[in-house]
Amino acid sequence: MIVQRVLSGLSALLLATGIVQGVRGGWIHAKAGLAQVLLHHSWERTQEGGVEEKPWPWADTWPVARLTLPGGGEHIVLAGATGRNLAFAPGYLDGSSKPGGDGTCVIAGHRDTHFSDLDMLEMGQIVVLEDEKGRSRSYRVVTTAVVEERDTWVITDNEGPTLVLITCWPLDSPMPGGTQRYVVWAEAEER
């Protein structure tokens, strides 16, 4: 009888845990997906108005670019590669060259949401980045690498207009907070 009760309790506890964890995990994906919808709206307003349009009233960031990956993935990029921003969208690293600029533009994204397919990018494929003013620029993927988080040379040691996409590695690791990064370098095509 006691065994039965213990097992009932345990089963209920496990199921509840399952639901809670499912919601937490799902929420991250829901947030990432939903945010992109809102962001697309604010992106269109940005394009029309030509000013920084906040995607929701309390946001402390705004869309700065639209990134189109060859597989059809299309992401609005937010200003600032902070943990909070990356939950909603890929983030543009402050201090790196502006999208469409002459230096290295760095965009980071979460490996389990927006950048989950980053390793599908192959050399020679074209990534398109559209800036706030609606100007598009094509970048050809030249190389990819797995590096350590301290390897800041991936950002600093490039020549010419370059787009660097960064996400956590391994892509399918369940644990957050690893020290490895997956990096894609793409060089701007002649305009």
Binding site: V3, Q4, L7, S8, L10, S11, A12, L13, L14, L15, T17, G18, I19, V20, Q21, G22, R24, G25, G26, I28, H29, A81, G83, L86, A87, L93, V106, A108, G109, H110, R111, D112, T113, F115, D119, T144, A145, V146, V147, E148, E149, R150, D151, T152, W153, I155, D157, I166, T167, C168, D172, S173, P174, M175, P176, G177, G178, Q180, R181, V183
Partner: protein, 682 residues
């Protein structure tokens, strides 16, 4: 998995050859290697051809230091090895003691030795560049800061080894009854303020661009290896110590050195191959009763006498004096370079200092990294509640970010309200910045009635900054190398803060035309001796020193004619003269006026300075003119106790726990269902 292997290999590639420096060597493709050809652990640097790399030069150092009485004579032999199969120029940026007078350099090629000549900096560089172009072996040693030097060695053949031997002299530090010999081995990565200048080629081979505030930034920032990549630049160091007095204590707090007593009071201290990742520190305390009261050495050269004199004010003048209330502003560096063990030492030191304050004192604390924060808007009385609050605040300090030192320095020197007769600013930092001169100038301009003290933290502090900042601030400095030293060193430091200074020090020499350096002996804090150098026409007579401490006058005399002769005292005198002239620049004298004076004295005494370098050139060319040469910066270690990521930053993160949540959800639900089933069975 190919990607992953690439990543691991590329992580060992660390430094880029500055473009444009070697334009003449880039016309045709050269034999370089691809990453696939590299074995594990190779140190490579990039070429201008993407994906091609060449091996970096390997450097090791042998140091021999002879201490006799007050004077240190040292030779540092740097050996450069070219592990690759093409010609190489090795560039090694390295530290020496900030008061070292470098007077000789020899280029050693196998059995052959070529003596270096002193030249004006540009002339020396021209001689070196010419030899480099012609394929002749050459070496050049230049001074970037009083404690940062660069050795360049041209035309090291494939597989070849070349030695460069540098000799210097210095005067020992004596403080609080203890002698200290400090030999720095690594330059702590310097923070460079200002915006980078990318419009012209870098002046050096460092990891940063030159900036508008630090024009030679790339010359003082040698590439730094991540500790995971292993240690480089092995040092073998031997000290022969003839203290000239019985010792109570002799120890090496920085390393596990072998210490042996050889003959009489002579000791031999040996380090057998340690990585260059911290200052080597040797300390000794004279036995009770044999503490030096005065020490004088002379040298006769070209009709003049050069004198080095140390005079120790006696302790017993420290009789009961009235402790004056003071306002103390603590400035603590919480930048990334303070990460690791340094921030712990800084917090401990600060907590101790806070306890030392009396209720009639005033205090404030400023912490800084890229920005600065004051604990209180202005100084508050040091009442117990305020001290407790401050200690809690200090305990929570974390190290991160840049080292923007000017703002907090000016804020600390701003004398808002005269609460107390004394005002003391205590700077707790590793001094790892590249804009020392600008900071010295600011201290000189803004000091007012404040006195500035520095506490150097960590395994490889910028001792030049510590010493000169305290000198311009008319205060004193101390070093805390390890957490275990905090208590002892802070104790000595409080004695300096709390006891009256020995002021108005005047010297009388037997010759009225004596040229003394420093010209004006600074005020002395507890535990410090008077140390001066002089050039005079005769040593027949006495040196008389007098001064005033807390209304009591002090006088000391020493007879010069009986002082022992020592070769090289003229260089110590010249080195101090150069330091004093260089200080004038921070006081606002234009460089055009300072430079010729320094060049004259440096050339006359064969000394390296900011404006003079030593250069040695082999006679016959060894590199065939049709073979190319590349430049490789020698990588350096991260100082012991530092955290690499705190200094050099990291790439943005890109992962969440969503998969972990979903995975645990799945497992929990599966288990839950299983347990439910189980219940039916039981």
């Amino acid at each position: 998995m190919a990607k992953k292997t690439f990543g691991l290999v590329i992580a060992t590639v660390l430094f880029a050859v500055p473009t444009g420096l070697f334009a003449q060597e880039q016309q045709e493709p050269e034999p370089t290697i691809g990453l696939a050809d590299v074995g594990q652990g190779s140190l490579l640097f990039k070429t201008d051809t993407p994906g091609r790399y060449v091996p970096a030069p390997v450097q090791s150092t042998e140091v021999e230091i002879a201490v006799r009485g007050l004077v240190v004579e040292a030779t540092v032999r740097q050996s450069f090895h070219n592990p690759g199969d093409e010609w190489l120029e090795g560039v090694y940026v390295f530290p020496l003691p900030q008061k070292a007078g470098v007077h000789a350099m020899r280029l050693e090629i196998g059995e052959r030795v070529i003596e270096g000549q002193i030249e004006e900096r540009e002339a020396a560089r021209k001689v070196y560049q010419q030899a480099k172009k012609e394929g002749r072996k050459a070496s050049l040693v230049e001074q970037e800061r009083p404690n940062v030097f660069t050795t360049s060695v041209a035309n090291i053949g494939p597989g070849e080894k070349i030695g460069v031997r540098v000799s210097y002299q210095q005067v020992l530090e004596y403080d609080s009854g203890r002698f200290e010999l400090r030999f720095p081995m690594v330059i702590g990565p310097r923070y460079i303020p200002g915006s980078k200048v990318t419009t012209r080629a870098k002046t050096g081979t460092g990891w940063v661009f030159d900036s508008d505030q630090v024009e030679d930034a790339s010359r003082v920032t040698p590439p730094v290896l991540h500790p995971d990549q292993g240690a480089v630049n092995l040092v073998r160091l031997k000290v022969s110590l003839d203290a000239g007095m019985p010792l109570e204590r002799l120890n090496c707090p920085s390393h596990a050195a072998q210490i042996e007593k050889t003959a009489g009071e002579v000791h031999s201290i040996l380090l057998n191959g340690v990585p260059a990742d911290r200052d080597f520190v040797l300390e000794w305390t004279p036995a009770r009763g044999s503490e030096p009261r005065a020490a004088v050495f002379t040298e006769e050269l070209d009709g003049s006498y050069y004198v080095l004199a140390m005079l120790m004010p006696p302790d017993d003048t420290f009789t009961e004096t009235v402790r004056l209330p003071r306002e103390v502003i603590f400035v603590v560096d919480t930048s990334g370079s303070m990460g690791g063990t340094s921030i712990i030492q800084a917090r401990d030191a600060l907590a101790l200092a806070l306890e030392q304050l009396a209720p009639e004192d005033y205090f404030n604390i400023i912490e800084f990294d890229s920005n600065f924060t004051k604990l209180h808007r202005q100084s508050v009385p040091a009442m117990p509640a305020a001290i407790d609050g401050a200690k809690q605040w200090v305990a929570g300090l974390q190290a991160d970010g840049g080292t923007e030192m000017m703002g907090p320095l000016l804020a600390a020197l701003e004398d808002l309200e005269e609460h107390t007769p004394l005002r003391q600013v205590v700077f707790i930092t590793d001094g790892c910045v590249g804009n020392e001169d600008a900071l010295f100038h600011a201290i000189h301009e803004e000091l007012g009635r404040s006195r500035l003290f520095t506490i150097g933290i960590g395994s490889a502090p910028n001792s030049h900054f510590m010493e000169r900042a305290a000198s311009f601030g008319r205060g004193d400095f101390t070093h805390i190398g390890t957490p275990s030293e905090v208590l002892l060193r802070m104790g000595e430091f409080f004695a300096k803060l709390e006891n009256p200074v020995l002021a108005d020090i005047e010297l009388q020499w037997p010759d009225p035309n004596t040229e003394t350096w420093p010209e004006q002996v600074p005020d002395l804090y507890a535990g410090r001796p008077v140390v001066v150098t002089a050039r005079l026409g005769t040593v027949h007579g006495e040196l008389v020193a007098n001064g005033v401490r807390a209304d009591e006058s002090w006088e000391a005399r020493t007879i010069l004619s009986v002082a022992p002769e020592r070769a090289g005292i003229n260089r110590l005198w010249a080195r101090r003269k150069i330091a004093s002239i260089m200080d004038q620049q921070a006081r606002g004298v234009p460089e055009d006026e300072v430079r010729p004076k320094v060049v004259e004295i440096a050339l006359a005494h064969h000394l390296i300075s900011k404006y003079t370098s030593l250069v040695a050139v082999d006679v016959t060319p060894t590199r065939p003119t049709d073979e190319k040469m590349r430049t490789g910066a020698v990588p350096t270690n991260l100082p012991a106790g530092w955290k690499y990521e705190k200094v050099f930053g990291t790439l943005p993160k890109g992962g969440t726990a969503s998969r972990l949540y979903l995975l645990t959800a799945l497992i929990a639900i599966a288990l839950g269902v299983f347990v439910r089933q189980l219940r039916g069975v039981v």
